[in-house]
Symmetry: C2
Subunit: 220 residues, 2 copies
């Protein structure tokens, strides 16, 4: 049986994708990896852990917090200026880009895959992210697929099944899969309750709305 | 003035490359990055620091030691089985491959570049490394160049000027540049003196020999 690894943020997209691959391949051959990079919303990792326990999936948390301030300059990190509010398309949301984060996470996950004989690396990027995040663009993903085929004698296949979906499509799929969305975290602010006002919250609420579903998490 | 960043291991290749770019661009706009990933030969970082002080170049050490055992399975790490001896071409030297190391280091360096408005990323890979290290192959480097142009709205140019050189070519260039090779470390074993027997030492000694030079470091 082929083994698979997924980068699991604990948000809505990657959590749905984890349910998706567990349905396809079973939980024994799936490995989830989450990263702590001092994100404001590090409580997403707590939810990633909860979901892995629920699905009985092997989970690794990789702690980059000691180097994050050295390499990442972003409003998404703890102690940075306030997370901007408003729609994702707004210019101001660009401050929440963490420079080259996804390539860092994917390359570390690829090392983990090679070290553990895993061939498939799943990544929950989707089209809704493209407009402001350079490392969610299809051309970036295509280039990453190529480099991951070449980075070792053992090729890593990067799989991005939701690449052409939007967040509403993902919630629709999650409904079919019975995803427990109460165990996901999306808000960019790491407060007790989700703010409902940042780009991330707005997009999430719209996705539930379009599917005539009520988001099970509480908002401020 | 354009800013440049270099991944500086403290070995012979990247140290020569640092002298090369300092000669071209001056030392004010050059940033060197070294990584601690629990390599057996972590004393190379000490030499990287010495060289940066000598050339008055900004130096960052990024510490990945807390995650290295989680992601890298390799004979090159501290506590692993013995570093194999013999020529690089030998099958047994494959154990010294650190899975996908170079992509991890390059992607972290790219984040540092974007966060600091640096456009050029220098990488000291050369053709002598190809036979056993998948991430030194020209096709890997070509794919990395493409992905680094796309990873952010600000493109990163990956520059690998020694790609088609061998180690003797690099030492020849170093002689022209007046590189102080007493401040470099090559041996894969991190002992007091270089062993002279591992693939890395053998290749280094041959490179000096071909240039009718005497290696200034001491051997066991």
């Amino acid at each position: 049986m082929e083994k698979s690894c997924i980068i699991l943020s604990g948000g809505l997209d990657s959590t749905t994708l984890l349910y998706d691959i567990v349905e396809q391949f079973g939980n024994e051959n799936v490995f989830a990896i989450s990263f702590n990079y001092n994100q404001n919303h590090s409580k997403e990792i707590y939810f990633a852990e909860k979901t892995c326990k629920k699905l009985n999936v092997n989970h690794q948390i990789i702690d980059l917090s000691s180097i994050s301030y050295q390499i990442f300059n972003s409003a998404l990190l703890k102690g940075a200026k306030e997370v901007p509010e408003g729609h994702y398309q707004d210019e101001v949301m660009k401050k929440t880009v963490v420079p080259n984060r996804n390539m860092v996470l994917l390359s570390i996950a690829a090392s983990f895959c090679i070290s553990n004989g895993i061939n498939n690396l799943y990544y929950g990027a989707h089209s809704g992210d493209h407009t402001i995040y350079p490392d969610c663009r299809p051309e970036f993903i295509k280039a990453m697929k190529e480099v991951l085929l070449l980075c070792d004698w053992q090729s890593i296949e990067l799989k991005v099944p939701y690449m052409n979906w939007n967040k509403a499509d993902i919630v629709r799929r999650g409904k079919e899969l019975g995803v427990d969305y109460s165990l996901t975290w999306t808000c960019y602010k790491g407060q007790e309750l989700a703010c409902g006002k940042c780009g991330s919250c707005i997009e999430r609420l719209e996705a539930f709305n379009k599917n005539n579903l009520i988001d099970p998490i509480k908002y401020e």
